[in-house]
Symmetry: D2
């Protein structure tokens, strides 16, 4: 079966820049980590859409994400990798605007970048790809072993996790 | 919520022995890899039951697994880490003997040991922990992004995967 | 034989902070990576002295490093983990002030933090521990497979390496 | 500067075979791990010569190793990756036959294969590449932070290390 991944940036995709000494949303890196997973029977199609800290996302960015998700969701589940700070905002907009869905839309991200010691990035990516096959239609946040309805969740920044509201 | 993990050995738990130069089912190693995962809201309880290559499992071993699963499944989902060669045999026995279930029973394992380059072990463990929360009652094999009903699956040894039958 | 390691911070020891989204010199982390190395016959004694970006090091900091190195170098080689930006400054001060040496003083660090994808940190730590046993007295920078006399080297920031001058 | 690496197999180069469930000397894997190291100023030239458990090496194999080392050592240091069980045998033969040397010949290997959890392979490879630049002419075993003269060392199998004799 086909699974779409739309990448938008966020911590999951940050890299350490040796010239600036900072972590930055620069080169796309989801592909490299996908290759560590075995997914027989799945055709994963990655669409690198933007590479932004989600605190810097504009209304236009979210319109673009919406437009691309609407186009992709027709034929297969969609996973969106996204910064955790405004993941709920984007998810709720998608839920409101997409209407009835034939497949699940899953937002995921990470508290530490993929490939950094103790990162949760590969865990969340693994879970989202699994969730894409087993969850029903809806807009979900999948992270840290949990599935949250995008209308009943918030980020708990102090504890670096998402909690039900 | 609580999730039980019963470990029985198999490739997922093999270690490289520097004295024999072989991979062996020796020390328990699932715990060490569980610590790499973030599972807020989950109480994972590990029961190390045996540590065997599944080709060497006896009827008595399977009776023991059945007895322990029956005791644990009453209050929470059960994940069984198991060698892939006879995972289906054990799963079908459990399905036949357990009767009606309140929670899912999930068998998982790996083609390469946890912690070896290119291992699928942590992926499968991650997926199984996620599956324990989202699958319904039944006896399932969860591996490589897929869920298989234990009555409709076989190991495809040539391609190192499980396929529906 | 005994080998001293004095940690002062720098990129090699930075961690990703999930609350700030930045890399920071916070908790000591050299010990954790030393445990990945096999060093029979070596007693490695770690002295965590400070944890600073080397661009923020003051004259007082360097006086302190000098005082501690002088105390330690009497009985064994000393490795100093240090930020790369001012590693040469500290090294030259040490060379000038320490006078005749009975053992090597080795400065090392990294372009990317220990434990980050593609980090050179463990390589440089491995090389420095090896160098501590084989180099003669002097103040050396050991990094990327090379040994530099601290009086004949500069950091080439563009190429993330040290070059002879 | 140029550094030769001649690969002959041994534990350092073993891979886990998913079809046999054993570790085997199959595909060459040193190259893949070399890419994790930063070695500016070094031209590392890898010659994959054979891929054998060193207990299975024949006199002909050692003659071949000798012939290739003799050819390579003329212009640059030579590192030989080799099984630890008979590394001393090969090293002593090389020392006897090579005569006066212009560069160091370094034998190295590992107790656990490259890329396996807790492997010492990358450490030993890192040390050998460093040693190739700093050691004088001679035939050396470089492993676990130590340099051994090939005539004064034996493998201590119980403790998975080399010790001076």
């Amino acid at each position: 079966m086909k699974i779409h991944i739309i990448t938008t940036g966020g911590t999951i995709e940050k890299v350490y820049s040796e010239s600036s000494g900072q972590v930055e949303n620069a080169a796309q890196k989801i592909d490299r980590y996908l290759q560590l997973l075995r997914l027989p029977g799945a055709q994963v199609e990655v669409t690198p859409l933007m590479n932004k800290d989600s605190l810097l996302m504009t209304d236009e960015d979210r319109e673009l994400i919406f437009a691309v998700v609407r186009a992709k969701i027709a034929d297969a589940p969609v996973i969106i990798t996204h910064g955790t700070d405004t993941m709920v905002v984007t998810g709720q907009l998608l839920k409101k605007r997409l209407g009835d869905l034939a497949h699940p839309v899953i937002l995921t991200g990470a508290m530490s970048p993929l490939g950094f010691e103790r990162s949760d990035g590969l865990q969340n990516l693994t879970e989202s790809l699994f969730a894409a096959r087993v969850l029903g239609p809806g807009v979900w946040i999948v992270i840290h072993g949990q599935v949250h309805d995008v209308d009943r969740v918030r980020k708990d920044k102090e504890n670096a996790r998402f909690v039900a509201v």
